[in-house]
């Protein structure tokens, strides 16, 4: 048993599951957005804003935002533990990444509900 404190789920199993589920959600969201843009060539502000005014779209988008936050946390945490060997630099980088993810998440929520 190897102990860890800066990974997302405190366990490799939960990180592994979160990574797979979030990847699936992000794939669905990407497919949806690409398809929406393809089927609406002359997209204007009213239509775009109307799409994001609907509750289901907000839920779907927030789910994707949370997914990308979790996915980035798990993925970048793994990269730092593989390649950054000095403990101070590694923990520092991990904290910067986690704080940035938090900032982007709150900002994203504000954008989503603000307009």
């Amino acid at each position: 048993m190897v102990t860890n404190v800066t990974n997302l789920g405190r366990s490799g199993l939960s990180d592994w599951l979160i990574q797979r589920v979030s990847a699936l959600i992000l794939a669905l969201y990407t497919l949806f957005i690409v398809a929406y843009l393809l089927f609406n060539p002359g997209l204007d502000y009213a239509a775009w804003s109307g799409l994001f005014a609907q509750t289901w779209m907000r839920i779907f988008t927030l789910l994707s935002l949370i997914s990308i936050a979790a996915h980035a946390w798990v993925g970048l945490w793994t990269v730092t533990t593989d390649y950054i060997k000095p403990t101070g630099v590694r923990v520092g980088t991990q904290i910067v990444i986690i704080l940035a993810i938090f900032v982007f998440l709150v900002w994203g929520i504000q954008v989503l509900w603000g307009a």
């Binding site: 048993m1 190897v2 102990t3 860890n4 990974n7 366990s11 490799g12 199993l13 990180d15 592994w16 599951l17 945490w77 793994t78 533990t81 593989d82 390649y83």
Partner: protein
């Protein structure tokens, strides 16, 4: 044209400040020798050359090394399998400290093997005869027990290179599953609890270098997948 160009990684920490590649010429007389045969011929000329070998038939797992960029056992790898443009480059197994020339310190590899407790654990009273298994239960151990611990797989795995102290590695995990899958072993829960952190099993990224190099044709990636399934079944 039968002179084979052999380039060998040389390092003697007592006399060399840094490792270097030494060039040799070997007359194979057109024969398709095993790589170990070539090393034996060179050793007869240059007695300072160091490498491990024992059974010379792919059973003991002593002569694992990197041949033209791919890990394998020198004794069962023929020149025709690895030599390109009449050139053979031999290096020690990657990722482990070099003791001398092609001899590596396997300490980290064995530590991870020890960690998975590679022995049957069963505290139930022993029956009058052996602990029996059905043929189906015994079949589950095929493809697992054949591992000879040559370390070709673990030392071809980048996850093991970066975290050899935390990631068990393909060889250790194959053995771990060998005991998890054994109907006579009763320590399944304890074994799984040791493995659910982000490193021991989950550092495997599934690139399957281990499967590509295993001289015994085993599949550690499949065993790792089975361990993940067991962990998931146990925790959801």
């Amino acid at each position: 044209m039968s002179m084979l160009q052999v380039s060998i990684y040389r390092y003697n920490p007592e006399t060399d400040s840094a490792p270097y590649m030494q060039e040799y010429q070997v007359d194979t007389q057109g024969r398709d020798l095993m790589v170990l045969n070539v090393l034996e011929m060179l050793k007869a000329e240059d007695t300072t050359l160091a490498y491990r070998r024992s059974c010379r038939e792919g059973v003991c797992g002593s002569d694992g090394m990197n041949m033209n960029g791919k890990n394998g056992l020198a004794c069962i790898t023929s020149l025709s399998e690895v030599v390109k443009d009449n050139k053979l480059t031999l290096r020690p197994l990657p990722g482990l400290p070099v003791v001398r020339d092609l001899v590596v310190d396997m300490g980290l590899f064995y530590q991870q093997y020890e960690r998975i407790q590679p022995y049957l654990q069963n505290d139930e009273p022993a029956p009058a005869i052996e602990r029996l298994q059905s043929p189906e239960e015994r079949d589950k151990l095929d493809g697992l027990y054949e591992c000879i611990l040559c370390a070709c797989c673990s030392t071809s795995c980048p996850s093991f290179w970066w975290n050899p102290d935390k990631f068990v590695g393909p060889a250790g995990l194959l053995q771990s599953y060998r005991f998890l899958a054994d109907s006579r072993d009763k320590a399944t829960r304890e074994r799984l609890a040791e493995l659910e952190d982000p490193f021991s099993v989950f550092r495997c990224r599934g690139i399957m270098n281990c499967v590509a190099v295993c001289p015994k044709g085993l599949n550690p990636t499949r065993a790792i997948g089975k361990i993940r399934e067991m962990l998931l079944a146990n925790a959801t």
